[in-house]
């Protein structure tokens, strides 16, 4: 309830704000929304201005107000939609408590339409004229593309193409069947006199006009289908059948509509065989042309994203702009725009996801969903608003009821017949209940309405009747069928989409099945779809990926690796969450617990590190230990023990030691980069501190027991793992590359691999601690007293010193760990936890040599 209230409050605030702002801007349209809305608004405002200019001058003020309220309502409405889909609060505040239940029973689309009724009623009450209707231009050019692009971009490609045959049959033949049967039956009924009961007397509709009407009613509407089926999680195959059909039948609808439109204007007698053949040809041109345009743009997007390594910030823009362009281009060439944008999305999705930065991918995903959601909302609301209009309501009981009946019945007949044929060829036949849902899911929506409004009133006298009937059918299907869909699915016990948990073995076996099936098909001399798929995959991997993907992305495209990566990520996240739940993440950052643990069981912690590394980078270290394991629980036991004491100390230490930069943060603003504002020096310093920790723990281990080689390597792993984050590690590496000169070789003689590690990391090249064996004396160069005094002064300018060398321990560290302070360990967060053996060792060491010049000290 609190959240609810908050959302409401916020909404009201925004509405008020907009209301306040808008008058200030005068006639300017509120610019909060996307361009399409703006355009729609401006077109509306034009209309309304025209409409009122002929009237008295007083009225425009009222309409102007309403215009603003309407706009802000829409904005608010949109926001609600974003805000947990609280639709009812605005429409009906008393029902706030109930809204969860309401949305779970009534699909959102239905609610939105109802809300549209209310809004429309308000406008009507104020205006007495319906000012806002969903005009076809706005709908087709500004609202529809986003929804369809989203659908295409998130299309499960494999599923789609596996069922492509069935989808196409339903989309093409099914739609034609719907159109023809509806048109012919209505015409037959009129001939038979069933339409006689009309208030306007006889209907003036010919056969061609009936067919035209049938063709606009025939198409299942993608927007409505998405809206309804999104909430009813039916199984994948069923979903893709309905959804794919609704997307692909657009080509058919456009052609049918255009052809019949042309026929109507030609008039009956002039139609000959040539015209009909032309119509059929145009179907292929429109459908395939549209798809090709889409594919072309999809490839273009993929190519572009391949080259945007340095301008990642604009990557997401490409997809939207080019996707929209593909829609417009197809529309311009009078090809099927929906097919075009669907194929554009489907074609580019794989490459885009592989090429783009993870952030951009997320951005695209969310932006697309947001746009699609917004458009969908507006579409449905406008559908509702459009209802409140006196002009279009031409009631003809016979016509309307018959249309409804035929739409429903013929859909059922068509689906059952086509599925019956298809099932003879399908590996997994569609079951009876599936077919029922498919038929019942034949929702008509805004596309039909848009087409109906596009009808030419001069040619078709009963346009308003058709619009009205279309609206009724839309309401009936979206609201009634939408509401009953869920209960029906439950009642028929339709197989629901299973929540799948990925497992590696499963994926592996699936992959193996695919290979096996291809082999078996080959052996049995059959070119089935497995065979085709494998050929396509081969082609795709060798050519398309090569052209369209970044070289770096090409390597990791195997799904198995993907799953592996996901699982590892999940593990790591669980691990961290678990740590957080127990109150501290020290065990993650605090290297000591690992070190302690390492001493207990080296190999195990070793494994942990391997796992962690593979989590982060997907790069496995070259280990000698045969199989690294992924069991992350190992840490937890250690953590418990150390935590209590550490918590206090670590807190204190962190307080003292966190990098206190002087106010040097440059607040960079860059249009093309979205970097975290990070001072380079800070990175350096953090890096050096971390390095120092490594060294220290390493030597401590060294001085205890002679460590086996794995530990040495482990240190190297740790380094990578323990860097503040993956990126900074890379940065550090590169930024230090200059230092990597020949000096590194001077630190010779010790363990090769360790040398390499530290050398690469670039820190402490002159550091004597590198050669603890050769020069143990150097370990204790700074006497405590000296260290203290010096450090006091150094406290102030840590960042400055960071350029010269590492900062030293502040004085109060001594209090915490007096012994350590005297040695070279200075900035470790975890100082006091270093094992006892080490302390003993340092105790026994000879007195320190005189302090060195400060520059060297820095490296100590």
């Amino acid at each position: 309830m609190l959240r609810c209230g908050y959302a409401l409050f916020w909404l009201l605030g925004s509405v008020l704000l907009i209301c306040v702002v808008s008058p200030v801007k005068g006639e300017a349209v509120v610019t909060h929304e996307g361009s399409h809305l703006k355009l729609s608004k401006s077109s509306h405002s034009n209309e309304s201005q025209h409409g009122h200019s002929s009237n008295a001058t007083g009225i425009p003020i009222i309409s102007f107000k309403w215009h603003h309220v309407e706009t802000s309502y829409l904005v608010a409405f949109w926001m609600i939609k974003e805000k947990k889909k609280y639709i009812l609060p605005l429409a009906n505040r008393e029902v706030i408590e109930a809204n969860h239940h309401v949305t779970s029973v009534i699909p959102e689309s239905a609610l939105l339409i109802c809300f549209g009724f209310i809004l429309g009623g308000m406008i009507w009450a104020a205006d007495k004229v319906q000012t806002f209707t969903l005009t076809p231009t706005v709908f087709f050019l500004y609202l529809l593309p986003q929804v369809i692009l989203d659908a295409g971009y998130h299309m499960p490609n494999k599923l789609f193409f596996t069922n492509l045959g069935g989808i196409l049959v339903h989309a093409v033949i099914g739609t034609c069947w719907n159109a023809a049967s509806l048109g012919l039956s209505l015409w037959g009924c009129q001939m038979g006199g069933a339409m006689g009961i009309s208030c306007t007397g006889d209907l003036d509709i010919g056969l061609l006009q009936y067919l035209l009407f049938g063709s606009l009613m025939a198409a299942v509407d993608p927007v409505a289908v998405i809206a309804v089926f999104e909430q009813v999680h039916v199984n994948d195959v069923l979903f893709i059948m309905v959804f794919g059909e609704s997307l692909l039948n657009d080509g058919v609808t456009v052609v049918l509509f255009n052809v019949f439109d042309a026929f109507v204007s030609l008039g009956g007698p002039k139609i000959d065989a040539a015209e009909i053949i032309k119509g059929i040809v145009s179907f292929f041109v429109v459908a395939f042309g549209g798809s090709l345009v889409g594919l072309g743009f999809g490839l273009l997007i993929s190519l572009l994203t391949r080259c945007t390594k340095n301008i990642q910030i604009i990557e997401p823009g490409f997809i939207f702009v080019l996707g929209y362009l593909s829609y417009l281009t197809a529309e311009m060439l009078s090809l099927s725009a929906i097919l075009s944008i669907v194929f554009c999305g489907m074609c580019c999705q794989k490459y885009v996801r592989a090429n783009m930065d993870e952030n951009s991918v997320q951005t695209v995903r969310y932006a697309m969903k947001a746009f699609a959601n917004g458009s969908e909302t507006i579409i449905f609301v406008f559908l509702g608003i459009s209802a409140i209009d006196k002009v279009i309501w031409v009631w003809n009981t016979g016509f309307i009821l018959l249309t409804l009946l035929f739409v429903l019945v013929y859909r059922f007949i068509g689906v059952f017949f086509l599925t019956w044929i298809l099932n003879r060829f399908r590996l997994v036949p569609l079951e009876f209940v599936d077919q029922v849902i498919m038929s019942y899911g034949g929702l008509r929506g805004a596309v039909a309405y848009g087409l109906a409004v596009m009808l030419d009133e001069n040619k078709i006298k009963e346009k308003n009747l058709m619009v009205c009937t279309t609206l009724i059918v839309v309401y009936f299907t979206v609201i009634l069928q939408g509401i009953t869909m869920k209960p029906l699915v439950m009642w028929l016990k339709v197989k629901r989409a299973a929540v799948t948990e990925v497992s590696l073995l499963e994926k592996l076996t699936n992959k193996m099945f695919n290979h096996t099936l291809v082999a078996i098909e080959d052996i049995s001399g059959q070119i089935g779809h497995n065979y085709m798929r494998s050929k396509w995959k081969y082609f795709e991997e060798n050519w398309m990926s090569w052209i369209l993907m970044k070289p770096s992305a090409r390597k990791k495209q195997d799904q198995l690796l993907d799953v592996f990566h996901q699982l590892n990520l999940k593990d790591a996240m669980e691990y961290v969450t678990e740590g957080e739940r127990r109150g501290s993440l020290e065990f993650v950052r605090n290297e000591n617990s690992i070190i302690d643990f390492k001493k207990k069981s080296e190999s195990e912690s070793f494994d942990i590190n391997n796992a962690n590394i593979s989590n982060d980078h997907g790069v496995m270290s070259n280990t000698r230990d045969p199989i690294p394991s992924v069991s992350l629980e190992m840490h937890e036991q250690t953590m418990k023990a150390v935590r209590e004491a550490e918590a206090i100390n670590a807190h204190h230490l962190l307080d003292q030691h966190l990098y206190k930069s002087r106010k040097q943060h440059r607040h960079r603003f860059s249009r093309s980069h979205f970097d975290i504002n990070r001072d380079e020096k800070e990175v350096q310093e953090i890096f050096q501190r971390t390095m120092r920790n490594r060294l220290e723990s390493f030597t401590s281990a060294k001085m205890g027991v002679k460590p086996p080689k794995t530990i040495v390597k482990h240190t190297q792993k740790e380094q990578q793992q323990k860097m503040p984050n993956g990126k900074s590690m890379d940065k550090a590496k590169t930024s230090y590359s200059g230092d990597e000169g020949s000096e590194g070789d001077s630190a010779s003689g010790y363990d090769q691999s360790y040398m390499r590690a530290t050398y690469r990391a670039g820190a402490g090249i002159e550091n004597p601690a590198f050669m603890p064996d050769l020069d143990p004396m150097d370990l204790l160069q700074i006497p405590p007293w000296l260290a203290e005094s010096e450090l006091d002064s150094s406290m102030v300018a840590l960042s400055h010193r960071a350029q010269v060398g590492l900062p030293r321990t502040p004085s109060n560290l001594r209090r915490l760990a007096p012994l350590r302070i005297s040695t070279r360990s200075t900035d470790s967060f975890t100082l006091e936890n270093i094992p006892d053996t080490q302390q003993m060792d340092s105790d026994q060491l000879p007195p320190p040599p005189p302090p060195r010049p400060p520059r060297d000290d820095g490296y100590v």
């Binding site: 590996l427 073995l505 699936n510 290979h515 001399g525 992924v630």
Partner: protein, 167 residues
Amino acid sequence: MGSSSSSRNKIPNAQELMDQTGFSSAHLLRLYDRFECLDRDNRGYLRQDTVDFSSFVRILAHFRPTDRNRNKEGTQQELPNSRTRKLKFAFQLYDLDRDGKISREELLQVLRAMLGLQVTEEQLQSIAERAIQEADLDKDDAISFDEFKKSLEKVDIDTKMSIGFLK
């Protein structure tokens, strides 16, 4: 029908094979043609004399889609396209040394063959390790058939290991 039954006669133990595999005689004929086509030397065996026609058919029978109606009649023996048999078949693809367990080495070998050069050896190893961990219930570091079956419980084997034409 005459020609088909006469050509059926040239197939050795046709009736027995049909009973065992659930193939119809038309299927068997087609397979026989294919077999003869593959068997270029006309020796009656494929692959260095290890696969004769009946084993050829029996292997392919694993990939016949399950038909719901027929299985309910309660055939006395389990047809090769039952779920368990299909799983067994898949299991044997992993189990290279036929000891009833998928060891890590075997899994690695399969992985190597499938993922090829895309992945480093270490990644392969950790994938194999992870896969074994997922399925290995009795912690013997290998996957037995029961464990295999259990871990693939959710997979729709009937569809995934079926080929349309053999229906």
